[in-house]
Amino acid sequence: MFDSFVAGQLAIGASVGLTYALVAIGFTLIYRVLSAVNFAHGEVYTLGAFATLVAVTTLKAPPLAAVPLVIVVGLAAGLGIERVAFRPFRRFTDEASLKSRAVREATLLSSLALGIVGREAMDQVWHGQWLAIPQDKMLNQPVNLGGVMLSAGELAIAGLSLVLLVGLQWLLLRTRVGLEIRAVSSNLVGAQFSGIDINRVVLATFAVGSILGALAGMVVSLAYGSIQSSMGLTVVLKAFVAMVIGGLTSIPGAVVAGVLIGVAEGAASLWVASAWTEMVAYVLLIFTLIFFPRGLFRRRGA
């Protein structure tokens, strides 16, 4: 029996899940390199959405023309976060302090603090209101996919996710900087002895991760049309959950877990009031951790 309403809810869930996945990829990448969590990542996502809004309203650009602006904003935010919340804690270069628990927890808190400051600053600038992308700029054309109605924006989310995922694998496996990122995440001390510039690799990681996060903010704002300064908070928490369920260091794991969360939320919305669906990700998280205390997809050697 094929129920197009059910299928539609699940498909929407999957596309929402892909946005969690996009944000989670940047998160996971940074975690792999530094063993540190960047809690300010959600604000990069929000900035991406606001950059899109500015591009299509103030600059009157067509939606696609927002891409370069969003990339620049994401890049600047990523480099800024690294400089302000992470670099100061890498004063020492030996392995004991670079990945130590103290530095990990200090950067977790400093990025959390920076995230709060950034979110509140945006709240001041945009007065905490929900702002809307103009209808004619939104990607809201309906698309009929074998009886399941989706919007062009939801398809764009899926498309962009696939492109970025493939692009990221290419970057990691086929380029010099990708090799260096993998080398640093595999053995930081070994990377230093091999002449790899750690700071440069960390910056590159933040740049890549943050550009992904900002692009996610862009496509979500174009698909759903509304933007608010705290929109990144919910998403970053879910992305964090996705990273953890996915096993912390596995990028495919984070993607699968992100989609899983989205679909579970879509499925839950069929049975319970929508207010309760907020809980789904966390219930999923806690059950996963009870049975798999280190997540579902642990990379070998990690």
Partner: protein, 324 residues
């Protein structure tokens, strides 16, 4: 910090005599409210300190147990007219039980997994409080919680409220102090530093962490009971993840493992945002900045057990502001 400290007596004297005197001389109802809030936050910070500073578990679930105790007390006192001792005992016992149940699977998790799981708990709790309207009255909030009752007497007015809170908070902090500076506290620190080594010494890291977690939940739940009466009103908005961040900030600012630090931290996180109030809604911005700056400039407060007072004193001496 290992002396049974005259500092403790000094602290008690300040809280029980100096602050009330100052409030009585210069104070306002507003100042008294802030003082109560500082004390409650200090109990939360002390409880969190037990978990982070001693057991090494970085947790973001303050609002779960704090809110649990608060709603429990609100429901009990509104519906059954309970008195203070019953409520404190009920909050402590129920908090410990809930903490024990939740902690059982949770404390096994490695640091970052634990932090995320507690974050998830905080969100689950908030969603539940917001949506279980029959029990919590939902987003409208729980209004008209009666004042503290001790036997036949109803305690009202700021002085009575203040003293009830001060005594309970000092009692709670004393418990944390005793736990931290005992064989038990050392065992927990040993388990924090090296689980395998602790296991080899015959300690069970899981049991130790679980006990610390249950005690912290119990104390936070008591803090919630105090808050319910002090505020007369509860709203789900009092128990969002950000409020967990506030307690965490108090701990970080005060210095991990330092109990006088818990009071100093609470003072900073309650008062600084209040001072920013004239500039608009900058409360969250304010404590975000405090958290950031203290991590950056007081790093020793973060991962070594330095009494903040000693730190401040050393700095003042070095700058020549105080004479030794």
């Amino acid at each position: 910090m290992n002396r049974p400290l005259p500092l403790g007596w000094l602290l008690a004297a300040v809280i029980l005599v100096v602050v009330p005197a100052a409030l009585w001389l210069f104070g306002s109802a507003y100042a008294a409210r802030l003082a109560q809030l500082v004390l409650i936050t200090a109990l939360l910070a002390a409880a969190l300190n037990l978990l982070i500073g001693t057991a090494g578990l970085l947790s973001l679930d303050t609002v779960v147990y704090y809110g649990f105790g608060a709603y429990l007390t609100a429901i009990l006192s509104t519906n059954y007219g309970t008195t203070l001792p019953t409520e404190i005992l009920a909050a402590a016992a129920a908090g410990a039980l809930l903490g024990g149940l939740i902690g059982w699977p949770l404390v096994r998790l490695a640091s970052i997994f634990f932090a995320v799981a507690t974050m998830g708990l905080a969100t689950i709790f908030h969603t539940t409080v917001l949506n279980w309207v029959d029990l919590t009255r939902g987003p409208m909030g729980y209004r008209g919680i009666p004042a503290f009752k001790l036997g036949e007497f109803t305690i009202d007015g700021w002085a009575g409220n203040y003293y009830v809170i001060a005594v309970v908070v000092l009692g709670g902090v004393w418990i944390v102090h005793r736990l931290t500076h005992s064989y038990y506290g050392n065992a927990m620190r040993a388990a924090r530093e090296d689980e395998d080594c602790a296991r080899a010494m015959g300690l069970s890291p899981h049991a130790l962490k679980l006990q610390a977690y249950a005690v912290h939940a119990s104390l936070m739940s008591v803090a919630g009971a105090l808050y319910a009466h002090a505020n007369n009103f509860l709203s789900p908005d009092n128990f969002v993840l950000l409020e967990s961040g506030l307690t965490l900030t108090a701990v970080v600012v005060g210095g991990l493992g330092s109990l006088p630090g818990a009071f100093i931290g609470a003072l900073v996180v309650v008062l600084v945002p209040e001072l920013l109030r004239p500039l608009g809604n900058l409360r969250a911005f304010g404590f975000g900045m405090i958290l950031f700056l203290s991590i950056l400039f007081l790093p020793r407060g973060l991962w070594s057990e330095v009494s903040s007072l000693a730190f401040v004193r050393r700095h003042l001496f070095r700058e020549g502001w105080l004479k030794r």
